[in-house]
């Protein structure tokens, strides 16, 4: 019972982190129709910039400045890269971001080398907030929850209460109409791209110290972000939130409880073969839930796409 | 003799809004039937229902007596119904010749054939060339369809629509956005290529409608208020009142 509570908190942290990435991605997708493969790379840049800044100015300045730099870079990529490729169609756009992701990874290795960076949790937050049955919850995790929730509320406020937000929301559903109403859609695109990547940057800044700051960090997270927004429904902010939390909890619980395939198979009436080690099916019998925890989201996505192609909350067909 | 196309009690709602509100209509073999009506009357929706682009909410559509419920567009096409689109809908990257050849493939029995070369079939090549001749695009044969002029693209669209040999042809505003001379050209073309076929068309241009159609149905707010020969419809007071009057006045 205590462990369930701990897992709920852990899953929440994972889910909210995922949400910060997927929120920007889903905004970018729904406005511009671009599946930005380089999104996780901006997350990585956020972590590296914050690390570099924290060496000179400390963690908090890193948290402030790094996302700004990432956002400006993102806007630059939109202005000078994507906008040019846009005229060729969606597939070249997607492939452009794919190439960009490779390039950013190479660039990071070029500048910072290939080793893990010693980017640490700031001392102020390096203590145990509270413990549940011997499981300590680090204060930094509470801080991560706080930041993510603050960003979600801020995003919701901007989208629903401000003029810019109204235009963006309108552009989510009716991109062409908004354009014909005389709004500077390219500028909005650039802005949304910048803000989306800056959000990814924030995620990188706060995740870097706990999940590690290394050149492979974008690749590890890369495709799972797509999975999230596809499950949630492309273009839906709420969908992104629900899917992020869903994935956070599903993977956390699957890892925490050793549900063995042999138990499931026994439960539905198959009996374990006697000489398991010789059986052709031995690998199936020995599968446990932690082994497959990280591929569960992919299974979920494929199933959702087959039965509900527009995702949980999506309005438009993907 | 069964009607070529028969609609009975056809309804379609989008959310709470009912766009088609109970249409009953029978179109006979080899009839040239025009559906007219003011903007927003549901003409294109009706077209899309018949061709399986949307499922109907209730009612029946029968092609040569066979119910089309639940049939996908390609199945309906194979039963002998072919359509054109209001917005030009061709294969812009392929050549004009290939556009037509593609539309011949199914009806010539090639189906999902992956063992014979299309260029080796004289029947295909000759068939496509004949159609090009009919629609006067032989000179444009090897150009990508996307670079043709608007009128030429419309002509190609009609060519694609009739190429498969369907006996029920549905044209959605074939002369929309054309100049006078272009319209005359297309009307002649339609008359020529729909010889001995059933033609159903939606059209705004009254000149085209009265020049081409044997029968006219007037669709207003999702209901057919009148069906009949052109002169009867023109004389119908309900039509005059609802729609035709102003349209005719505007034309004079």
């Amino acid at each position: 019972m205590d462990l369930i509570l701990v897992n709920i908190i852990d899953g929440l942290v994972t889910g909210l982190l995922l949400f910060m990435l997927s929120a920007g991605l889903t905004l970018i997708f729904s406005m511009m129709g671009v599946l930005n493969f380089a999104h996780a790379s901006f997350y990585m840049l956020g972590a590296y910039f914050a690390y570099q800044i924290s060496l000179a100015l400390g963690f908090w300045m890193g948290l402030l400045i790094a996302p700004l730099i990432v956002g400006v870079m993102g806007a630059g990529v939109e202005r000078y890269g994507l906008r040019r490729v846009h005229q060729y169609g969606h597939v070249p756009e997607l492939i452009f971001t794919f190439g960009l992701a490779l390039l950013i990874e190479e660039l990071v290795q070029f500048i910072w080398g290939k080793n893990q960076m010693p980017y640490q949790v700031p001392d102020v937050l390096n203590f145990t907030a509270f413990a549940i049955a011997g499981n300590s919850i680090p204060a930094y995790k509470i801080f991560m929850i706080f930041i993510s929730v603050a960003i979600f509320i801020g995003l919701l406020y901007v989208l629903t209460r401000t003029r810019v937000g109204m235009i963006i929301q309108a552009a989510l559903s009716y991109p062409r109409t908004v354009e014909s109403l005389g709004h500077n859609v390219p500028l909005i695109f650039m802005g949304v791209f910048g803000v989306g990547t800056a959000l990814a940057g924030v995620a990188g800044v706060i995740a870097g110290p706990v999940l590690g700051t290394f050149p492979g960090m974008a690749f590890v997270l890369g495709s799972i972000v797509f999975v999230t927004i596809v499950i949630g429904g492309l273009g839906s902010l709420w969908g992104a939130l629900v899917a992020s939390l869903l994935i956070g909890w599903v993977t956390t619980f699957a890892k925490s409880y050793n549900i063995a395939m042999s138990d499931i198979l026994n439960g539905i009436g198959f009996s374990t073969p006697e000489n398991l080690s010789d059986s052709l099916w031995r690998d199936l019998w020995t599968v446990t839930s932690p082994q497959i925890a990280d591929i569960l989201p992919y299974i979920l996505m494929v199933l959702i796409l087959i039965f509900r192609p527009y995702g949980l909350f999506g309005k438009r067909d993907a | 003799m069964t009607a070529a196309l028969e609609l009975s009690g056809l309804r379609k709602s989008f959310g709470k809004t009912e766009i088609i509100r109970g249409v009953d209509l029978a179109i006979g073999q080899n009839e040239r039937h025009a559906i007219i009506g003011p903007n927003g009357a549901g003409k294109s929706t009706l077209f899309n229902l018949i061709t399986g682009r949307f499922p109907q909410t209730s009612g029946h559509i029968r092609l040569h007596g066979q119910d089309l419920a639940g049939k996908a567009p390609y199945e309906i096409n194979r039963m002998g119904l072919s359509r054109s689109f209001q917005i030009t809908n061709i294969f812009p990257k392929m050549t004009v010749f290939e556009n037509v050849r593609c539309s011949l493939l199914w009806s010539m029995g090639y189906k999902y054939n992956f063992w014979s070369m299309v260029s080796k079939s004289r029947a295909l090549t000759d068939g496509a060339d004949q159609i090009l001749e009919q629609i006067n695009l032989t000179a444009r044969r090897d150009l990508p369809a996307g670079v043709l002029s608007y009128a030429e693209q419309r002509a190609l669209e009609i060519g694609i629509t009739i190429a498969g040999g369907a006996d029920v042809i549905m044209l959605d505003e074939p002369t929309a956005g054309m100049s006078h001379s272009e319209t005359d050209y297309i009307v002649d073309l339609i008359r020529k290529v729909t010889e001995n076929k059933t033609l159903i068309m939606v059209e705004h241009d009254m000149g085209v409608v009265f020049g081409l159609a044997d029968q006219i149905s007037v669709l207003v707010y999702g209901e057919i208020i009148a069906t009949g020969r052109p002169e009867d419809v023109r004389a119908n007071s309900k039509v005059q009142e609802a729609y035709l009057g102003e349209a005719l006045e505007a034309e004079h």
Partner: protein, 435 residues
């Protein structure tokens, strides 16, 4: 048969003249390719050259298969390595079966086994993924790719875990006396399969279903109203692509005698997308160029610099940004110029712009290498070699020289670019106004 066409159609019609012409030249590239493939080992007899050429050939088959989806069918797959991989794994298992049982099975037919299993898997996955093209297809392909790749370490019985599955290619039934122990024999086996598969894939694109694949790519709705189910057309393309990907897998099994997790993972799927796009999806021969260029980058450039992936990334992004038609598109841009007969006019402007341009590119890469060396090389190890010149990367002079050369070349390039642009426009205008 083509002669008959010519007799019955009217040769005075310009369009038919063109088509008749294209029929007669179409066999030439195939003959040249075959002759080249036969001659290649005489030019480059070393085993490593053979190995690299084998790798190229396998990549070409795979890239062509991939382009059946992307270029001809308009389907973007992020998990296509799976079909090649599974075909390859089955091929290795069959190879082992041959070794164990001594079954009389000649190795040259092994790729067919791979192809059939690749196709079988594609038929299963395609049954639910080809319902639409676009994002849904792309995401299902990503998901399925990840799933099967993850299975490769979990289902050890079939995929052999991280170590993979290996076998011996020389224990099959000798084929006309060849047992395929030597690289050169394997080279000709793979070359033969390359010719067969490329030809089959080319012919496939000329069949009714191949033509309809293009039609569905451009306008699925219109295709439906022509009697074709867009879904079934996609399904056929997908299955055919799976078949040829499986053939490539079988060839991989013969060449390397081992298949591992890397044959299935998403990185391999990404690479084939890069290869195909780099070569150009719009032309049948595009992926061939892409496969050759990428193999050279990966295998040969990486012998010379650690930064090969960086250069590959730059090349790739630049291609997408400036030449969306890929390398093949770049080549085909020149066809009209040759047809008009003004190609000669381009030689001098090209010379004047591209030479400084090339120097500038090399200069920039030298600067990149020097920066990298300056930052990452061992202390005291100041000596470095770029373009066969050895110097001290910590001294000023080499930097000054590199900078001056680079910027000078850049300046010259910019200076001459407008005249190239003019010459290009001029060369593309036929004499006597519009065509």
């Amino acid at each position: 048969m083509s002669e008959q066409d010519q007799i019955t159609t009217d040769p005075t019609k310009p369009a038919q003249r063109m088509r008749a012409g294209s029929m007669t030249i179409s066999a030439t590239p195939w003959i040249i390719a075959a002759v080249l493939l036969i001659a290649m080992p005489y030019l480059f007899p070393s085993r490593s050259a053979l190995t690299i050429m084998n790798q190229m050939s396998i990549t070409i088959v795979f890239a062509l298969a991939y382009n059946m989806l992307l270029g001809q069918g308009g389907m973007l797959s992020f998990g296509h390595a799976v079909y090649m991989g599974v075909g390859g794994f089955v091929a290795v298992h069959v190879m082992n079966l041959i070794s164990d049982t001594g079954a009389p099975f000649p190795m040259p037919f092994l790729p067919i086994v791979g192809g059939l299993f690749g196709m079988g898997l594609a038929m299963i996955v395609g049954s639910f993924s080809t319902r639409s093209a676009g994002t849904v297809f792309a995401m299902i392909s990503l998901g399925v790719g990840e799933l099967i790749a993850a299975c490769s370490v979990i289902i050890v019985v079939f995929f052999g875990g991280e170590e993979g599955v290996s076998g011996y290619r020389d224990e099959g039934l000798p084929f006309f006396g060849f047992d395929f122990a030597q690289q050169i024999e394997v080279y000709y086996l793979i070359a033969a399969w390359l010719m067969i598969s490329a030809l089959l894939m080319y012919l496939y694109s000329r069949t009714p279903i191949g033509r309809m694949a293009n039609a569905v790519r451009d306008n699925p709705e219109r295709a439906e109203f022509l009697g074709y189910s867009a879904r079934w057309v996609r399904y056929y393309s997908f299955a055919a692509s799976g078949f040829f990907a499986g053939i490539a897998g079988g060839l991989f099994a013969i060449n390397y005698e081992i298949l591992t997790e890397e044959n299935l993972n998403t990185a391999s799927s990404g690479v084939i997308l890069l290869v195909t796009f780099l070569g150009g999806v719009g032309f049948f021969f595009g992926p061939i160029i892409g496969a050759i260029a990428f193999t050279l980058l990966q295998t040969v450039l990486s012998l010379h610099t650690e930064l090969w992936a960086f250069y590959a990334g730059v090349l790739f992004v630049a291609t997408v940004m400036f030449f969306p038609g890929g390398l093949a598109g770049l080549i085909m841009m020149h066809v009209p110029v040759f047809q008009i007969g003004k190609a000669k006019q381009l030689v001098l402007p090209y010379f004047k712009t591209l030479i400084p341009g090339a120097v500038a590119v090399l200069g920039v890469s030298a600067l990149v290498e020097m920066t990298f060396h300056y930052r990452h090389a061992a202390t005291g190890d100041n000596e470095m070699t770029v373009f066969w010149t050895t110097f001290d990367s910590h001294a000023i002079l080499p930097w000054v020289i590199a900078l001056v050369v680079t910027f000078g070349a850049l300046y010259l390039t910019r200076l001459n670019a407008p005249s190239l642009r003019e010459a290009w426009a001029e060369a593309n205008t036929p004499d006597g106004g519009a065509a």
